[in-house]
């Protein structure tokens, strides 16, 4: 019981990390219907850019987030036409071809990462990494690590910013129109190609920024991508594919399951529980937690 407040807080904080890795992906899926196997690799590349930039400039890595975002958003924007070509194949199943395309991309990025960054694990040194707030009342205590709190704040900020853009800007309306009906949107003068490029750019930029945050909390390596790809997929699907508002709740659910299992049950069964609960939720609610996925 002593640890109950801590378990709840930890669940939220772990959930925050899951939001950061899934929110951009959910947006990209909602608009482009792309299942991107390389999401973890974008996170990895972003993390290493953050590491090298902070080593080179000696600036606090968290302040470099906008730089990382811009670099990768441009990269994603320029890259999207290739994916677009794959996605518009007429025969067979374009969705699957995109899956295989990004799978190839992920392998190549990983090889590139191993060649350029080397094979050792690294860590992005943030001044915030060691700070924490501790609240004590009687035997109860809660420790909130600053860096994780920043992660959660970042996750919520990105989620709010994305929903604002989608609801309140012309660009957002174009994105929504595209997500709902490609042909009709085209008739209304919306360029699918350009809008998709922006969406893909934003998604890649967000994923890369998340990599920097992850590097401040954990270790990073050229091999790290796969792990994050899996969880990114899981959160997005649990939320309902393309349903942005569901992402935080799905992320918090997975976070809570982990923190409670680690603290109250046999930690060895943590991931088993995560996967079984994910499976069970999908059986009960086949279109994500809220039944609102596409």
């Amino acid at each position: 019981m002593l640890l109950l407040p801590q378990a709840l807080v930890d669940g939220l904080l772990i959930g925050g990390i899951y939001i950061t890795i899934a929110i951009g992906f959910s947006l990209a899926y909602g608009v482009m219907h792309i299942i991107d196997f390389a999401v973890g690799e974008w996170i990895m590349l972003g993390a290493f850019l953050g590491l090298y930039l902070s080593q080179w400039t000696q600036v606090e890595p968290l302040l470099l987030l906008p730089v990382v975002f811009v670099v990768f958003a441009v990269l994603g924007y320029l890259f999207q036409p290739v994916i677009h070509r794959v996605l518009s194949g007429k025969k067979g199943n374009p969705l699957l071809m995109a899956l295989v395309f990004t799978f190839g991309l992920a392998i190549a990025f990983k090889g590139l990462g191993l060649t350029v960054f080397g094979f050792f694990s690294r860590s992005i040194p943030s001044a915030m990494a060691a700070d924490s707030f501790t609240f004590v009342r009687g035997d109860f205590f809660v420790t909130i690590p600053v860096i994780r709190l920043i992660g959660l704040a970042y996750a919520i900020a990105v989620t709010l910013a994305l929903s604002w853009i989608l609801k309140r800007t012309d660009f957002g309306l174009a994105v929504q129109a595209l997500a709902q009906n490609k042909e009709a949107a085209g008739l209304m003068g919306i360029s699918a190609k350009r809008t998709n490029s922006w969406v893909y750019g934003i998604y890649v930029g967000i994923s890369a920024m998340s990599g920097v945050l992850i590097g401040c909390m954990f270790s990073i390596s050229a091999q790290m991508g796969g792990k994050y790809t899996v969880f990114s997929f899981f959160v997005v699907v649990l939320a309902g594919m393309g349903f942005l508002a569901g992402v935080p709740w799905a992320a918090f659910l997975l976070g809570m399951v982990q923190s409670f299992f680690l603290i109250y049950f046999d930690p060895g069964y943590t991931l088993l529980a995560v996967f079984i609960i994910l499976y069970a939720v999908l059986l009960i609610s086949p279109k994500g937690l809220f039944g609102k996925g596409v």
Binding site: A7, G11, L114, R148
Partner: protein, 414 residues
């Protein structure tokens, strides 16, 4: 339909034509297979072993080669990436044995790959020395052609716990955890066994999924307040655990891990927060060792390694280089010039079994029987602690070069 089968047949024919590449029977150098994981989950360790093997080969060749009957023969390394997968390890072994016709093999980093590759090499009667496969399971299989220079973790794991128990006052309670992979689990179990022997109360013992975010689990530590936190895991997990303790802001009196703390990446990633972490090792660059082969002592080796790779050498790399030295010494004894035939390889195994030499890495002596069959038992397990950014030997007393710092300086006072 028909054309498809035709295409398939042609592709397969092309495959057959491309694949067989029989090595010339006559050569005046040793062809040495290297099976290790250059990619996949265990790429870090695999690449460190590769550096160890490479450094051995470079140094041997720079000196003209291995001397047999007054003539020097160079060595050539041929790599097979096991990709951290047992089946690829077996394929690599088969390729090196049949395509490349290697004389002997420098072996994998992980136990899974070793267990799959070893039977294949047994079949072709090709001796293998693995520089770093520390799972106790390997040696229980009693592979005749497989040797190892690094002792298994149940041989080394007890030392740091014994060093800690000898302190005054010693740690009274412990929380022990291990990642759920074969090496890490065995490490945690070795720590647990040693703690029991030393009379340290074990407040919690758990095996956690590999790669798990451990912050929540460390809040349990914060509640239980054990003096000692001991963790069996691989490089990135060790960094994650220290960062988790930092984030939850709990400093145990002693934090113990295994070989991973001697990897340069550990200190580089954590900087001041790596200070005072304990580890188990059999080699550091300051260890007392007088070498009769290639390097006169550990410091000389460390200097060459630093020059070659720009990072300090850890014991995995040293053990891998020592594997090459073991072959070199055994070859010198049986006086077999390349290429080796089956009888010569058989003699090589016999020579390895009898081998007892002093190297920069320490004494090399492979066990001939028992649970450590063919693992190196010539070394004494060391307790190391990160002091001033370097792993320093703090135990056992006969080997210690510095005193253990205990308890740890709290994170916020660093």
């Amino acid at each position: 339909m028909k054309s498809a089968f035709a295409i398939m047949s042609w592709m397969l024919v092309a495959l057959f034509l491309v694949l067989p590449q029989t090595a010339a029977a006559q050569r005046d150098y040793y062809k040495v297979g290297v099976i290790t994981s250059l990619s996949g989950d265990l790429a870090t360790g695999g690449n460190v072993t590769k550096r160890g093997y490479d450094l051995w080969a470079q140094t041997v060749n720079a000196a003209g080669g291995i001397e047999i009957d007054g003539r020097k023969y160079k060595v050539e390394l041929v790599y097979g990436d096991a990709q951290s997968k047992p089946d690829q390890g077996a394929s690599a072994a088969e390729r090196l044995a049949t395509q490349e016709k290697v004389d002997f093999v420098l072996g994998p980093y992980s136990s899974g790959v070793t267990l799959a590759a070893a039977p294949v090499l047994e079949k072709y009667k090709i001796p293998m020395i693995t520089g770093s496969a520390e799972s106790p399971m390997i040696w229980l299989q009693k592979f005749y052609y497989t040797f190892g220079t690094i002792p298994p973790v149940n041989y080394t794991g007890a030392s740091p716990v014994e060093t800690l128990a000898a302190l005054d006052p010693p740690p009274k309670s412990a929380m022990i955890l291990g990642s759920n992979d074969t090496f890490s689990k065995a490490t945690a179990e070795a720590f647990q066994e040693a703690a029991k022997q030393a009379g340290i109360e074990i407040k919690k013992f758990n095996i956690v999924p590999a790669g798990q975010d451990l912050m929540s689990f460390m809040s349990v530590a914060k509640a239980l307040k054990p003096d000692l936190v001991a963790f069996g895991g691989h490089d990135e997990e060790l960094i994650n655990l220290v960062k988790a303790l930092l984030q939850i802001n709990y400093t145990p009196k002693a934090l113990l891990m295994h070989y991973g703390v001697t990897e340069p990446a550990f200190v580089e990633a954590l900087a001041k927060n790596a200070e005072q972490v304990y580890g188990a090792s059999v080699w550091t660059e300051t260890v007392h060792a007088k070498g009769d082969y290639l390097w006169a002592d550990a410091a000389a080796y460390a200097k060459d390694a630093e020059a070659a790779f720009k990072v300090p050498a850890d014991y995995t790399q040293a053990g891998s280089t020592a594997a090459g030295i073991a072959f070199m010494a055994a070859l010198g004894q049986i006086k077999a010039a390349p290429p080796l035939d089956e009888a010569e390889r058989e003699a090589l195994v016999k020579a390895l079994e009898k081998l007892d030499i002093q190297t920069f890495y320490g004494r090399l002596k492979f066990a001939e029987e028992g649970q450590f069959y063919h693992a190196n038992i010539g070394l004494s397990p060391l307790t190391v602690q990160i002091q001033g950014g370097k792993p320093v030997i703090v135990g056992p007393p006969s080997e210690a070069q510095s005193t253990p710092q205990y308890p740890m300086t709290p994170w916020e006072k660093r």
